[in-house]
């Protein structure tokens, strides 16, 4: 077990000691970026669990994240849950937010899995758009309308505590999902992406496995969503259901390598960094344009993402003989 986890342990160790260098001049801005990166990595991995593994491309992941965020936000914000003005402690609202993501996902997304391919993407996008509209239109005094709910309580304050919080969440999510992905369950899910009928014909209930993948995805999206909302300490519909967040999630997963967990995790950090890295050099819209161009280039020329590149590199050193040796045949 330790042997299989050794790379994770090294990564955790490296990430954990980073803040110790802050007094020595390590920039806090990088710590902040890593927090943002961690949350994007969580969302990308969550997306990957559902879409990268099973091939049901979700265009509505912000639905889950936003739902979780909104539930915890309007239960915990200063003016309280209107009209009785009850302000619940975070310890209560956070689990409720996750539960909302799971419940919403199971009620709305999961039945949509009856349709495949682009259809599923459309349905999930439609759910996101409907929730967006409802939050603006129905009882705006309850959801804050399009102004949103500002000034939410924070779980922890400051860059470094938030860094450890997000890192803990990220690694818990990553190792958990990675473990699932590496297990037979992960293999079945990837096989579902390749050919769902054949998996059925192997005597496996794809429904059962998809539901499990979906549950994991919703739980992690909800977890990420509630902590992310309280980290940003405000929520509004344009941010929660923005095409930018949706695209960030999908692109991180795609350029990282779909169906690999490690890839999307890397993709999340990469995207956060590349966007910030470009900021001083490219003015405003040029930066977003450059980012979109990089993304489309990656999607077209390297559909397998960084993970695929890494595999290519590895295969330089690994001939087919070595590959057979791996299986003993």
């Amino acid at each position: 077990m330790i042997r299989r986890l050794r790379w994770w342990l090294i990564a955790i160790a490296v990430m954990c000691v980073l803040p110790l260098f802050v007094p020595l001049g390590f920039p806090v801005s990088v710590i902040r970026l890593l927090v943002m990166g961690s949350y994007l990595a969580i969302f990308a991995m969550s997306w990957d669990m559902m879409s990268g593994h099973t091939g049901y491309i979700s265009f509505g992941h912000p639905f889950l994240i936003g739902l979780a965020g909104y539930v915890t936000a309007f239960l915990s914000h200063q003016e309280g849950f209107q009209p009785p003005h009850i302000v619940l402690p975070l310890a209560v609202t956070l689990p409720l937010g996750v539960a909302a993501a799971v419940g919403g996902g199971m009620l709305f997304f999961f039945p949509s899995m009856r349709v495949r391919g682009p259809y599923f993407a459309l349905v999930s996008l439609a759910f996101m758009e409907i929730l967006h509209r409802l939050i603006i239109a129905v009882r705006p005094e309850f959801t804050g309308g399009d102004r949103g709910l500002p000034n939410l309580p924070s779980v922890v304050m400051g860059a470094i505590p938030n860094y450890y919080l997000s890192l803990g969440l990220m690694f818990a999510t990553a190792i958990g999902l990675w473990y699932v992905s590496r297990s037979n369950v992960g293999n079945v899910l990837k096989a579902i992406r390749m050919d769902e009928d054949v998996v059925e014909a192997s005597g496996i209930s794809t429904y059962r496995f998809k539901r499990f993948a979906f549950l994991l995805s919703a739980v992690t999206a909800g977890l990420g969503g509630v902590f992310y909302t309280h980290y940003l300490a405000s929520i509004n519909p344009r941010r929660a259901f923005s095409a930018i967040l949706l695209l960030d999630i999908i692109i991180s997963a795609v350029i990282g390598g779909m169906g690999t967990i490690v890839g999307p995790m890397f993709g999340g950090y990469f995207l956060t960094f590349i966007l910030e890295y470009l900021r001083p050099y490219l003015f405003g819209q040029w930066r977003l344009l450059a980012y979109a161009l990089v993304a489309i280039f990656m999607v077209i020329y390297k559909p397998k993402g960084f993970y695929g590149i890494a595999q290519d590199v590895a295969s330089w050193f690994q001939t087919r003989k070595r590959r057979s040796a791996q299986y003993g045949y």
Partner: protein
């Protein structure tokens, strides 16, 4: 009745206005190998899809070992003991052969899969070797010939530990030598008690393999009986050549 392994009664399937299978009935005795014959487009594959549950019949029932499985989803039929191969092989493109075969042995439960109750690779390799894939186990599907792909299909079907295997056009596109090998292999399996339904329009390859033949034409039952008798049947000739 106990001798009937699988029984199909009055199966009907329509695609829009087209009646693909019309009131079609047949059965397979225990220990029997059945040939399902018919010209191209006569509905053979549709019958397989109906038996496997890939399609839902408009009417009719499918009874397996005395149980009505008409409303079972595909995976439950597989668990009950029916397996199939596809006319056009459908391997998992991103998996090496051995993992592809192992996929069929993964238990249908989340917790079970975590505990690694899939068949160990050595045993999977044995199944692969049995169908003659010894050298190909670590290859990817894109590196294999059509004959090998059909073997993979067969190995995958056998790995589910079935009582009956539905072989869809298993000889199509193979060389004579390959057909011979596959034939031998299937014969061996039969001796161990495995049942087959073989779909083929290649009469020669069918001949040594099957005990009995059912002929389907435009989705309708035409004739049944031993192979020799069938090939001389007027209606069958009419269906094939007329």
């Amino acid at each position: 009745m106990a001798t009937k392994l699988i029984e199909i009664k009055g199966l009907t399937k329509k695609f829009g206005g087209l009646v693909a299978v019309n009131d079609f009935s047949f059965h397979v005795e225990k220990g029997e190998a059945l040939g399902l014959m018919g010209p191209n487009g006569s509905g053979k594959t549709t019958v397989f899809n109906l038996v496997m549950g890939d399609l839902k019949p408009d009417s009719g029932e499918i009874i397996f070992e005395g149980k009505d499985i008409t409303n079972y989803p595909t995976y439950q039929r597989v668990k009950a003991g029916i397996a199939r191969t596809y006319q056009v092989p459908r391997p998992f493109q991103e998996l090496p052969v051995i993992e592809d075969i192992q996929m069929s042995t993964i238990p249908d439960s989340i917790m079970g899969s975590f505990r690694g109750r899939a068949m160990p690779l050595e045993k999977v390799a044995k199944i692969g070797e049995d169908v003659g894939l010894k050298e190909h186990l670590s290859m990817y599907p894109r590196e294999l010939t059509m004959g090998d792909l059909r073997r993979v299909e067969l190995a995958k079907a056998l790995a589910t530990n079935p009582k009956i295997v539905l072989l869809d056009e298993i000889f199509a596109g193979l060389t004579v030598a390959e057909i011979g090998e596959l034939d031998t292999l299937l014969q061996q399996r039969r001796k161990k008690g495995l049942n087959f339904i073989v779909v083929s329009h290649d009469l020669k390859a069918l001949a040594p393999l099957v005990d009995r033949v059912v002929v389907i034409h435009f989705g309708e039952f035409i004739a049944e009986g031993p192979f020799d008798k069938i090939v001389n049947d007027e209606r069958v000739k009419a269906a094939y050549f007329g």
